[in-house]
Amino acid sequence: MKKIAIVLSVCLLLSAAAGCAPAVTDSEKPLVVAMELAYPPFETKDSAGNPSGVSVDFAKAFGEYIGRKVIIENIAWDGLIPSLQTGKADMIVSSMTITEKRKEMVDFSDPYANALLAILANKNSGISSIDDLNQPGKKVAVKTGTTGDIYAREHLQNAGRIELADESACVTEVVQGKADAFIYDQLTIYRNWKTHEDATVAVFIPFQDVEQWGVAVRKGNTELLDKLNAFIAKFRSEGGFDKLTQKYLAEEKAAFEELGFQWFFDLK
Amino acid sequence: MKLELIGLTKTFNGQQVLGPIDFSDTIDTLAVVGPSGSGKSTLLRIIGGLLLPTEGRVMMDGEEAGHDESSLMLYRRRIGFVFQQGGLFRHMTARQNITVPLVHVHGFTQAEADARANALLSRFGLLSQAHKRPGALSGGEQQRIAIARAIAPRPRLLLLDEPTSALDPEFTTEVLDMISELKADGIRFIIVTHEMGFARHACEHIAFLHEGRLLEYGPSEQLFAHPQTPEFARFLSKLLEWNIVRE
């Protein structure tokens, strides 16, 4: 009988442990913000290894606004949405574009920024528009799961797709000519083109509707969502995004103005 | 069978472990004894063609053991060698240990080799173990198979390097019994051994090695009764210390 009692208590222990799911609605708890710290200057690390960038400042400002401490969780891109689903994080601020498919998994705040895709092409590939890329025999590098990936999947079906896990591998493929082009957001393409001007060309002609970035929260978490939307409106009207631009993106903004592009935070 | 050793020396890493040794006599049955480290095993390996001497020559019935690998190989094929332990091929059965060299070295057909192996195995009461690998045999059985393998091609000389040193006492007897049976068959052998009773009673001659030198050689009964050198006398008295008390 003693043995049965032991077995029973083990079962009880197991179920008790499983019952200890985090109660995330508790407003006393720190706000856990998930982002992939691999996308400077939005989400990155400073030289001391601490999270830094536009999204980090933005998240901290929001934490101040609602009076909760903010913890930044660095999570790989593939794991961001699952981190919301499993309660590891309360929200995602990771330059994430609002898409229909993502909306099935999470709820998005009002958009806070615009983004457009651009093309980084190998100099010898002869690519000067998106139509040059959508040809049999052309190969396009994308970062798995990004909007560039999604765009290529849906609109560049004539071209071959090379899905890679990080941005620098995508750029390397283009520089070495293993891939003809890399599709990513304008800013990243601009920066990488500047670094590899001898081997690449950048194509900034818009080829899709403007994408919008939003903050993602767990489905049904309207309480947090409402606060977020109120905060975004307030932050914008108080010039918060302009300050972030000045702090992190002054040079890029000048270049964008010269090229005649719409700036990230200028929502029409 | 006449064995001649002429100016034999062996040096390992600048240190002379053997010789110079000069020897010439007809071999019937010879026991080589001496303290450990006296060069007995080295000498036996040189006679067996497993080791090249640093200087000197080995002659068997007037024929010189070669100095290069291919002539040494031919020389070795006419000699049987039994190691202290672990000399059987571990992946072969007892029977294969005997037949494979017969087939691949001595040109036997498989049937001839099997017949020879079976005759030896049954004579020495090992037939029931013939299908086993060495790992499944007792130490005594392993050594008897090794002896059977060594004599199967009918070599002109059998060399045994301490064949019972690694055995439990009850197996020592069965191995020594087998060797003295071979003696009755007229098989000539040289044995390196610590079994003084066997050296004295079962071997015609005895050689005493001390610090790499051949100090004594002669008929065994005679030498055992009257050691010629203080080294041999001391060696014997040490070995027999406990036996004497019991006698």
């Binding site: 179920s15 499983a18 499993t86 | 000399g87 571990r90 992946h91 070295v105 499944a136």
Partner: protein, 261 residues
């Protein structure tokens, strides 16, 4: 019979089939229960409906992983044998080269080697085919381990075996063919099949250079449908389907060649 005897068995003793079955069943129930409770705790429900939609791609990825693993196994075996022999070579440069190769491959992460070989050496020498490059990179990495397996077993063959081969009159080639090789095969085979299981798992890292094998396929699918947990759960099952039979064969081989001890 006491209750405890149903669950205990002396070390080195096999349990009776019924007793083994009972314990295995109970263990399965516990594992499934823990897993299920964990899932409920984090509020994740599994939905595997996507599998049929993507079955062709999953099947192709599975085959690709199998193909890469077998090809790499063959090439790494060749590299391993050559490097093991090279480490014992009289040509000093060859000996050092093989030694350096083994130390480098075993001492650095596979991921770093994949990037280094593909983007620098592969590009420089014009190896642009991702399958070929992937197989080569994986073979070079695993070959170092196989080299050590082979060298270890060669060194473990006792000096007496070589000497006995000499004593019975075998030539150099007969010694290798009749004595050394058969013993090496029996000693290395279990470890080599174990290495095959490692190769299968390690091949997943080739997804970093977009070789469309099983892991890359699953990554692509999960990026498309966001069913990360289902996808990776399935991934684990599919790898087990490859590695478990290999492990069983290894066990069988170990048993078969246990005369060594």
């Amino acid at each position: 019979m006491k209750l405890r005897e149903l669950f205990l068995q002396n070390r080195n003793e096999k349990a009776l089939p019924l007793k083994a079955a009972l314990n295995l069943l109970l263990l399965t129930v516990i594992i499934v229960a823990v897993f299920w409770l964990s899932l409920t705790a984090v509020g994740v429900t599994f939905d595997f409906s996507f599998v049929s939609e993507y079955r062709t791609r999953i099947g192709q990825g599975f085959l690709m992983t199998l193909l890469i693993s077998l090809a790499s196994f063959a090439v790494s075996l060749l590299l391993g044998v050559l490097s093991a022999l090279g480490q014992g070579s009289r040509v000093l440069m060859l000996r050092y080269l093989c030694g350096f190769y083994v130390k480098f491959s075993r001492g650095t992460p596979l991921m770093m080697q994949i990037y280094l070989f593909f983007y620098i050496i592969g590009t420089a020498w014009g190896i642009d085919n991702r399958f070929v490059a992937g197989v080569l990179i994986l073979s070079i990495f695993e070959g170092a381990y196989i080299s050590e397996i082979i060298r270890g077993s060669l060194l473990s063959i006792e000096a007496t075996q070589w000497e006995a081969a000499k004593a019975v009159g075998f030539s150099r080639s007969q010694t290798l063919r009749l004595v050394i090789l058969p013993q090496m095969v029996t000693r290395t085979l279990p470890a080599l099949t174990g290495q095959l299981a490692s190769i299968i798992k390690d091949s997943s890292l080739l997804s970093w250079i977009a070789v469309i094998e099983l892991t890359q396929t699953i990554r692509e699918i999960s990026a498309d449908n966001f069913k990360l947990f289902e996808c990776y759960f399935l991934l684990g099952l599919l790898y087990l389907a490859l590695t478990l039979p290999v492990t069983l064969i290894t066990k069988k081989l170990e048993k078969k060649f246990s005369y060594e001890t």
